[in-house]
Symmetry: C2
Subunit: 200 residues, 2 copies
């Protein structure tokens, strides 16, 4: 099929690296960008280049940020809380921030322990985390890794690490989502909800 | 919410111009590009810039292409067929090409007549099309605009134009899609299928 010129074909191919974008969607995106949104497409290309250039990792919490440390790590009031929430990705930081309930700091693993894939403690920055434990000032580690096999393993591993420095480690609660119905909740989640029950 | 640094926020905002991409998807895309696909992201930015620079419109059929005319218009065997298929967008050219049944040339309207939105004959290049009719060598115009109110109006308008140059105008058939079931087909389509019935 030679219906595309080389530049359009290259653009379509490049768009396919976006999550959830297949051949058809990439075609629609390419045509829309070139037909109707040339200004926006130019802005997208510059925003992408600019972000690739300036965005790196926070030296304290490993999240994506410009500059050496992120705005949350720079916030002294948050440091004073003495809590560190461990999450797997920058998107998880955002999710926790949106609850407006947590006022402490974060540590972003950028992954999870997965020995089968060759991902060990150093790959998820646990050496950096241990240094923060050593430096002191932390009285609670909240483990908010995903409730998967690897996420749970990672949580247990970090809890053991925290115990060595006499830091209290807690795991976020797993149970029936608010607004969810028991009938539609899977049995593992329901099991967690029962074992984690609280007295009213 | 200050969980994003400015460069990431700008990237997320820019990604939202893509069709079907909202805030959440744009966030996921931005994080994925910056966390895992830095090479691909760089390629995407260059492919986009390159396409914006070199891709323009074919001077004969108005489709998106590099150079002055597209590969289909340059193909002499296709010109010799003497047919022009009228479609609304470059994506439609691709759809027709994938049938492998049509061997003639195209004319891409890049829209449809829509007086309420101020889109008249000149905006969809009908002056250019009329010039092709005048130049001769065309014996059939196949109207493959979408079966919407505006698409039908556009088809009728172009059929009238073709009649002035004694060119035969045909409309693609509308009816029950292959593999579709009568029960689930809307009544307008079913009406078209009945009025367009053929003897076996």
């Amino acid at each position: 099929m030679k219906a595309f010129s080389p530049a359009i074909a290259a653009l379509i191919e490049s768009l396919r690296i976006l999550p959830g974008v297949g051949q058809k969607t990439a075609q629609r995106m390419a045509f829309q960008l070139l037909e109707r949104h040339r200004d926006g497409a130019g802005k997208l290309a510059s925003a992408l280049n600019h972000a690739l250039e300036v965005v790196g990792r926070c030296q304290r919490c490993r999240t994506l940020t410009e500059g050496d440390t992120c705005s949350i790590c720079d916030n002294q009031a948050r440091a004073a809380e003495g809590t560190v929430c461990i999450v797997e990705s920058p998107a998880d930081v955002l999710a926790v921030e949106q609850t407006s309930q947590y006022k402490g700091q974060y540590f972003v693993l950028m992954g999870r322990l997965s020995p089968l894939d060759g991902i060990g403690p150093a790959d998820i920055g646990l050496d950096l985390l241990e240094k923060r434990f050593q430096d002191g000032g932390i009285n609670e580690v909240i483990l908010a890794t995903n409730p998967t096999m690897e996420g749970d393993t990672t949580a247990h591993f970090i809890a053991d690490l925290a115990a060595r420095y006499n830091i209290n480690a807690t795991r976020i609660a797993h149970g029936v989502p608010v607004g969810g119905e028991l009938e539609y909740v899977d049995h593992t989640t329901l099991g967690h909800a029962f074992s984690g029950r609280k007295s009213l």
